[in-house]
């Protein structure tokens, strides 16, 4: 019996099995958290255990409004970067002025939501995991439960709500910043005026282009919140555990965001 146990093929098969089960378990846990949060948001007010409006707003401030400067800087840079690359690329065809259309589509359909999602995953996803993990280690979660305060209602639901509202807003803001970056560089490089740039952008863009980005950002909001929160709740083993959960939640949510982006982009463009 011991020999069969130690066979390398069987060992690695076992490892695959274990990690698959763990993955499915985690996904299940995330969905439980999602449905429980939705329950509290929708049903809570009717059974006199509402999600506090004040904590939703304070979350919106810390994760949304406070993130505006950094979102602006990154999106602006992405806009400039796209303009540089596209002008270089289009010059081979002598079609530099088409840069406007290229930047408009790339920013609204792809880079706006993606860069905002990745940024917020690093900023808010990590702080969620760290905050809830620390509370878990300090028995604050237990304390909430024994006080009859459901931790999902108190901690997760307001965050989820705030995230679903704020990430699309930030994404739209990021779209604008990216377009501004593109406009400024194009103006300097090929001398296209801002008016003309704006005019061509508005002609090229349809509402559906912006909406595609916004829709993806709602998916990203779910991913960031659920991955951060579920990693926080499953912290064991003190401060080191909190560190691990924080790192893990950032890596996982960025990976999931990129993969989800690919999948949704494919289906939204069928």
């Amino acid at each position: 019996m011991p020999e069969a146990d130690n066979h390398p093929v069987i060992n690695s098969l076992e490892l695959v099995g274990h990690s698959t089960i763990k993955l499915i378990e985690e996904a299940g846990y995330c969905f439980t958290l999602l449905f429980e949060s939705l329950f509290w948001i929708l049903v809570g007010p009717f059974i006199k255990r509402p999600v506090r409006i004040s904590s939703i707003f304070s979350q919106m401030m810390t994760m949304g409004v406070a993130a505006c400067p950094i979102v602006f800087v990154l999106s602006f840079s992405i806009g400039v970067m796209l303009a540089i690359q596209m002008i270089y690329n289009l010059r081979t065809f002598g079609a530099e002025s088409q840069v406007v259309v290229g930047v408009a589509f790339s920013v609204t359909r792809e880079f706006g939501p993606l860069i905002t999602g990745i940024l917020i995953a690093g900023r808010t996803g990590s702080s969620l995991a760290a905050k809830i993990g620390t509370m878990q280690v300090n028995q604050e979660i237990d304390a909430l439960r024994v006080m009859g305060i459901n931790p999902v209602r108190y901690l997760v639901a307001p965050t989820l709500f705030a995230m679903i509202v704020m990430l699309p807003v930030l994404t739209f803001f990021s779209d604008l910043a990216g377009l501004l970056g593109g406009a400024i560089y194009t103006n300097i490089e090929i001398g296209l005026s801002f008016d003309a740039y704006l005019d061509r952008t508005l002609t090229a863009l349809a509402v559906a282009d912006v909406m595609q980005g916004i829709f993806k950002s709602i998916i990203f909001a779910l991913i960031i919140t659920l991955v951060g929160v579920s990693n926080g709740f499953s912290v064991t083993g003190g401060a080191e555990g909190v560190g691990k959960a924080t790192t893990r939640s950032v890596v996982l949510s960025i990976s999931y965001i990129v993969i989800a982006d690919m999948i949704f982009t494919y289906f939204l463009n069928l």
Binding site: R49, K131, T134, M135, N138, Q139, E140, D142, A143, L144, R145, V146, M147, G148, I149
Partner: protein, 264 residues
């Protein structure tokens, strides 16, 4: 003097941590207005027992009756009601670190009552006075010493005037003077508020001082539940080694020991 109506009744409680059985069929009855100490060494299962008494886990089998309700069977709503009659002082206090002491104490009131802000404030201050922390409501938990945090946590636990009060290692990490003060506080609380109090501890001195009865746990079994005198006079070897701080000398099973070492 004491009535014998039981506030907490545990029957044949069996719990597992993963595949390992931690509690092997615990029977325990705690009377109203009683201070029951649950004692035992590390790994005896006393913290586990407390977790299940608080309804923080689902037992493998057995029943736990709190104030006449079996918490392994009741609905979420009933549990929610019951929790408003329970107060818990955790080992590390477990104050929410993002809020001031005053906000922490007010939290249960805010969540469970419709009192106006001013009333809640007054009630919170009253409870902070009870634990000798008057005037500290504006401080953050990180600014308090260990003993003060435990007392603030106690204020939060009693703010709803619970009928059941649980303490997890109240004297852990405190100097003898502060720890003695906390003991006094527990006694005062019982007398003033007619609470049933369960204290999990391994501090003998404080246990003997405040206990009405003591339950000794060992490796997931109850060795004895009795009054302080009877526990002290018990001739059970493991109880005596716990009381006299003697190292326990389990007999070494030679074959088993060898098997463990060689990993067979």
């Amino acid at each position: 003097m004491k009535n014998n109506k039981s506030a907490i009744e545990v029957n044949d409680l069996v719990t597992h941590y993963g595949p390992r059985e931690i509690l092997h069929g615990i029977d325990l009855s705690i009377n109203e207005d009683e201070i029951m100490i649950i004692m035992g060494g590390s790994g005896s299962g006393k913290s586990t027992l407390l977790r299940y008494l608080l309804g923080l886990g689902t037992p493998s089998s057995g029943s736990i009756n709190l104030l006449g309700k079996d918490i392994t069977k009741i609905s979420n709503n009933e549990m929610h009601q019951l929790r408003q009659n329970m107060g818990v002082a955790f080992q590390g206090g477990a104050l929410l670190s993002s809020m001031t002491v005053g906000e922490n104490v007010k939290l249960p009131l805010r969540e469970h009552t419709n009192l106006d802000e001013k009333t809640m404030e007054i009630m919170a201050r009253m409870k902070l006075e009870v634990v000798n922390l008057g005037g500290f409501e504006k401080m953050m938990p990180a600014e308090l010493s260990g003993g003060m945090i435990k007392r603030a946590a106690l204020a939060r636990a009693i703010v709803m005037d619970p009928k059941l009060m649980f303490f997890d290692e109240p004297s852990a990490g405190l100097d003898p003077v502060v720890s003695a003060e906390l003991d006094e506080l527990i006694l005062e609380l019982r007398d003033a508020m007619k609470m049933t109090i369960v204290v999990v501890t391994h501090e003998l001195e404080s246990a003997f001082k405040i206990a009405d009865r003591i339950t000794v746990l060992d490796q997931g079994n109850i060795l004895m539940t009795d009054t302080v005198e009877n526990i002290k006079n018990s001739d059970n070897e493991r109880i005596q080694s716990l009381l006299n701080r003697r190292p326990s000398n389990d007999e070494v099973q030679a074959d088993e020991y060898l098997n463990r070492l060689t990993g067979i």
